[in-house]
C-alpha cells in the first residue's frame, strides 16, 4: 500500500519528480547505454549520464546549453558528466516528461565528438521518442494511477472532512490535480456535499470516471452534478467540477 506521494524515486521505467518524470527512450537504452529495453530506472542509476540526468533535471526540466541546430525544431538540452559523458534531453511539456534521448562519450581523440552523433540521430528521425516510448510511459502511468487512486482519494476526502468548507488540494498519483471541499448539509442529517475541481490538462478519458468513482463510490452517475464553483470560488477555464451528496 502506498504510504506517501511518489516523488524523487525511481519507479519502473521512470524517475518521478514533483510535476514531471524522467525517462530514457528505448533507442537510447539499447543502442547508447547497452541495456535491455525493459530495464527499470533504478538499475540505470549507477551510470554516469543517468546520475547527471537525475541531478540536473530533477529540479528543473530545462537548461541553458542546447544541442543545435536540429531538424526537429525541438529545444534539446546538453547534459554532461565530467569531461567525457554527454547526453541530450528534451522536456516534453505536453506530456510532463523529460526524455534522455541520446548518450555518447565525448572524446575527440578516439570515438569522436558526441554532438555530431546526436545530430545524425536527429537527421535520421531517431532522436525523439517513438510511439512505443509513449506507450510505455502511458501504460506505466495507468498502472500507477490504478494502484493509488483509491488510497489517495480517501486521503484527500479525509483531509477535507477534517476542515469542512475549506478546499483541500492534492495531485492524485502524481498526475491529476484535484481540489476538493466537503460541506455539511444542515437540513439532512448524516449527509455531506462533496465538490471536486479537476484540472483539464491532466485528464484522460479514463482517469476521469475512475477518479469520480473513487470519490463518489455509492453515487449513481446521473446523481453527479457539474457545478461552476467550489468553496465560494468560480472554477477556472482550465477546470471541470463535479458535485454529489453523500450519505456518511
Amino acid at each position: 500500500m502506498p504510504s506517501g506521494p511518489l516523488i524523487n524515486i525511481a519507479r519502473h521505467g521512470s524517475y518521478l519528480c514533483v510535476s514531471y518524470e524522467l525517462r530514457v527512450t528505448a533507442r537510447c537504452l539499447a543502442e547508447d547505454l547497452g541495456r535491455p529495453g525493459d530495464d527499470p530506472f533504478s538499475r540505470l542509476a549507477n551510470h554516469e549520464i543517468v546520475v547527471a540526468f537525475i541531478n540536473r533535471r530533477r529540479d528543473s526540466p530545462e537548461d541553458t546549453r542546447q544541442v543545435a541546430p536540429l531538424s526537429t525544431g525541438r529545444t534539446v538540452y546538453r547534459l554532461a558528466y565530467g569531461n567525457r559523458h554527454r547526453g541530450a534531453t528534451w522536456y516534453d511539456e505536453a506530456n510532463r516528461v523529460v526524455w534522455l534521448l541520446a548518450y555518447a562519450q565525448h572524446d575527440f581523440a578516439a570515438a569522436g565528438d558526441a554532438f555530431p552523433y546526436f545530430k545524425e540521430l536527429d537527421a535520421a528521425d531517431r532522436l525523439l521518442p517513438t510511439a512505443d516510448d509513449y506507450r510505455a510511459l502511458f501504460e506505466a502511468r495507468a498502472a500507477r494511477f490504478a494502484e493509488v487512486v483509491a488510497f489517495e482519494a480517501a486521503n484527500l476526502l479525509s483531509a477535507a472532512r477534517a476542515s469542512p468548507g475549506t478546499e483541500r488540494r492534492a495531485i492524485i498519483a502524481g498526475q491529476l490535480a484535484v481540489g476538493l471541499v466537503v460541506e455539511i448539509v444542515e437540513d439532512l442529517e448524516g449527509v455531506e456535499e462533496i465538490t471536486v475541481a479537476l484540472r483539464l490538462e491532466d485528464l484522460t478519458p479514463e482517469s476521469l470516471p475512475i477518479l469520480l468513482a473513487a470519490l463518489f463510490p455509492d453515487s449513481a452517475f446521473d446523481d453527479i452534478q457539474t457545478p461552476t464553483s467550489l468553496a465560494g470560488r468560480v472554477l477556472g477555464k482550465n477546470e471541470i467540477g463535479y458535485r454529489a451528496l453523500i450519505e456518511r
Binding site: N95, A131, Y134, A142, E206, A213, P217, K237
Partner: protein
C-alpha cells in the same frame, strides 16, 4: 465495446493551434472541447464510471489498470506524431 478517443494529446495540440489562429485562449477551446466530448460520449462515460466503481469495490487493480490504459495505444501514436510537428 471500447470507443476510440483522441483525448487529450491531439485535443490539446489542436486547441493550441486553433487558439493561435483565432487569437483565443487555448484554455477556452480546451474547456469547450472537453464539454463537447463529455456530452457526446455521455453513455460511454457513465458506463466507465460504473465499471470503475465495481473494480474499486472488488479491489481489482489489474482491471483498473486496463481501464485506465484503454486509450494508451491511440494516445501514444498521437503523442509521437505531435512530437515531430
Amino acid at each position: 465495446m471500447s470507443v476510440v478517443v483522441r483525448l487529450p494529446e491531439d485535443l490539446y495540440a489542436s486547441a493550441r493551434r486553433i487558439a493561435s489562429l483565432q487569437g483565443r485562449q487555448a484554455a477556452d477551446l480546451l474547456s469547450e472541447a472537453w464539454a463537447e466530448y463529455l456530452d457526446v460520449h455521455r453513455e460511454q462515460f457513465a458506463s466507465d464510471f460504473e465499471e470503475a466503481a465495481q473494480l474499486l469495490r472488488s479491489g481489482d487493480t489489474q482491471g483498473l489498470t486496463e481501464l485506465a490504459g484503454r486509450s494508451v495505444k491511440d494516445r501514444a501514436e498521437e503523442a509521437a506524431r505531435a512530437a515531430r510537428e
